[in-house]
Symmetry: C2
Subunit: 403 residues, 2 copies
């Protein structure tokens, strides 16, 4: 509701229908053409804007290159792709080189906010390396305009009421306005904090997604996937026709659902890749593997959790700037890198910064939109031609004869 009011007050009578249609009361929904497009921005490493030099660009580019090139690339993606959501997968700022962390955060996310595009973020391992803690950085992100980020769920396990990390939350994308699914999620986005560094002295390098985060995610996913009958609602307006078909109901979450034969699709986003992201067979990969993975040296079982959940079609990470491939793991479930986006992040001179685009399409047509039919992805290179590469399908669920 806060976001809704903010949307009205900021835009007033000049209200941009395209955004507020998507974001009423903080909601996201598929557009009227049955599509939902996400742009992934990995590893901006934003610091002090014009004062922050680039890393690993060509010698002739160095003199004029700064964080502003990262800003320009974000604008370029927005104008070219018109995303419904931008997901920043961590290392959004490089706080070690930032003279003012909140200023860096404001500058880093300025384009999506100015463009009034809903956005979400998870933390990387560099976001907190300064005066602001991980909790403070995420609390700030949660409050920024058009941010869909949330801190953590109130999740009761044992005698604790929350889970590890900051910024573990779920974004639901509902059906197109006016459709039978306008109050039901058709695509769930699982945002997970993969931590920063190992806290165990004898285990080196990077952190991992903890068991308690995984239990929460499994339970949240299971809740989303099974039929739910809010009794108060049913009392107000009995819908016996839904009860009769309860065996076929999946992902019932709203007030005006139609029985579905499949649960909603889901995608996961986190910063540090899991070990299997790197060991995934190359044969099924589309993209490049140019560096050893910075995945944790321990396997905390997150792939097993994603597969067990059953609704996740792909997980998207950052962290390794020179890896940008998508490969199929067990499940089948795609594990995808995006490749580095930011100019103050390490990279490879002559190998353009890049961004991943992910689009989900619905079965059916304007008369009757149904569940997700397929999910596609490709990348854009920040080169002269704004080259589109590596288009591939991550999931198919075509219904040949929609009702």
């Amino acid at each position: 509701m806060e976001r809704f009011i903010s949307c009205i007050s900021v835009l007033g009578v000049l209200l941009a229908a395209s955004f507020c249609q998507h974001a009423e009361a903080g909601k996201l929904r598929f557009s009227s053409d049955g599509q939902f497009k996400i742009v992934q921005v990995a590893d901006m490493h934003y610091a002090d804007g014009a004062h922050t030099k680039c890393l690993d660009v060509l010698p002739e580019e160095m003199a004029t290159c700064s964080d502003l090139n990262t800003t320009a690339f974000q604008w370029r993606m927005i104008k070219q792709e018109h995303p419904d959501l931008v997901v920043f997968t961590g290392d959004n700022i490089f706080q070690r080189d930032s003279s003012n962390a909140t200023a860096s955060l404001i500058a880093a996310f300025a384009p999506v906010i100015e463009a009034r595009i809903p956005w979400a973020a998870v933390l990387g391992n560099h976001d907190q390396e300064g005066h602001m803690t991980r909790e403070e950085v995420m609390a700030f992100i949660v409050k920024m305009d058009y941010s869909m980020a949330q801190m953590n769920p109130n999740f009761l396990h044992g005698d604790r009421t929350t889970i590890d990390g900051y910024g573990n939350y779920i974004i639901e994308v509902e059906g197109p306005a006016g459709s039978m699914f306008e109050n039901k999620s058709l695509l769930n986005l699982y945002m997970v904090d993969s931590g920063d560094y190992s806290f165990i002295p004898q285990v080196s390098y990077y952190d991992w997604i903890k068991s308690n985060q995984q239990v929460w995610l499994q339970q949240a996913s299971a809740e989303i996937q099974v039929p739910q009958f809010p009794s108060a609602l049913l009392n107000l307006r009995p819908r016996p026709e839904l009860l009769d078909e309860s065996m076929h109901l999946k992902a019932y979450r709203g007030v005006k659902p139609r029985p579905q034969t499949k649960a909603a699709s889901a995608l996961a986003f986190h910063h540090i890749p899991i070990p299997e992201s790197f060991t995934t067979p190359n044969a099924s990969n589309l993209g490049e593997k140019n560096e050893a993975s910075g995945s944790p040296s321990l396997n905390s079982g997150f792939l097993t959790t994603l597969i067990t959940m059953g609704d996740v079609q792909a997980a998207f990470t950052g962290h390794d700037h020179l890896n940008d491939y998508c490969g199929a793991a067990d499940g089948p479930l795609f594990l995808c890198y995006s490749g580095g986006f930011g100019y103050h992040a390490y990279g490879k001179a002559g190998w353009p910064r890049r961004s991943r685009v992910i689009t989900a399409y619905l079965n059916g047509n304007a008369a009757s939109w149904d569940d997700v039919s397929h999910i596609q992805t490709y990348k854009r290179l920040d080169d002269d031609g704004f080259t589109k590469i590596d288009e591939q399908t991550l999931y198919t669920n075509y219904v040949l004869s929609p009702e």
Copy 2:
């Protein structure tokens, strides 16, 4: 208390002091010489006793070999080793070949019960392959005489009140009677159900230890490791000298503790090995690796959990009858196989059935027992010489100048 009464009533005036000293009120404790010895029995595959033939023994042994050889081997281990506890690590019975599962269970555990030795068990993947479910098998085991097994903890997470599997429990081994630690655990045994078969169609083979079991175990371990001050107790009998030293208190759990500088040691037992059991470097192994591992095809993060817990020195599994090595994994933490014990289980003719012995020793002396100083292990082969092999140290924490 139930076990205490049972102990009295069964044994009456002939009460075997050696057992009831260890097991008063269902408690286990280090003996007066500061030692606690565990015999591990892996994969008995017990069925119908004399009517059940052996697998993979020498041709000349086949005619007279049956489940009774497994029984005889169990008696031989008891008489040779005088264990304080026998741990059965699953596939205790092979229910598929059993005409009466409860009879198989009674026969399988008969020696330890008759010898009045406390014992514990976890389930394997073959225990339930008949009329009795996993839950029923474990419920039966829990109620058997001298069994230390428990079903599951009441563990609240989300809106559920228990965890996956049957037979997830902790056995505490307290200090020697009359010592300062007679009411405090010095060695915790974590018993975990590793399930049976993958429940996900596209994931083949064996099951894995779930995230919710791991969250429970981490929390239980953390509770055991931090100081606890039962307020009711403190009100009855204030002990300000303990409060003053609270920064040094570890693993405070009883009514008469002494401040310790280290948490209790811990060992884990489960049936199906984790993937790292097999990928552990051979260089540090002592024992044989004669078959590919039947570990799950997915990694559910259990090693990460064990390492995170910080108190676990080794994990002991069965399942792969022809592997009997102990190898060091990250942590450092030893992952140990036992090798097959049962004659109706597959094996290798001429390669004797075997059993692992694990002994924990305390620092200090009879005047002042302290925490665990070291943990040793070796195996016994069921051959003519009852050969003892592969003795090795799994953990050292020697205090050179005990108080």
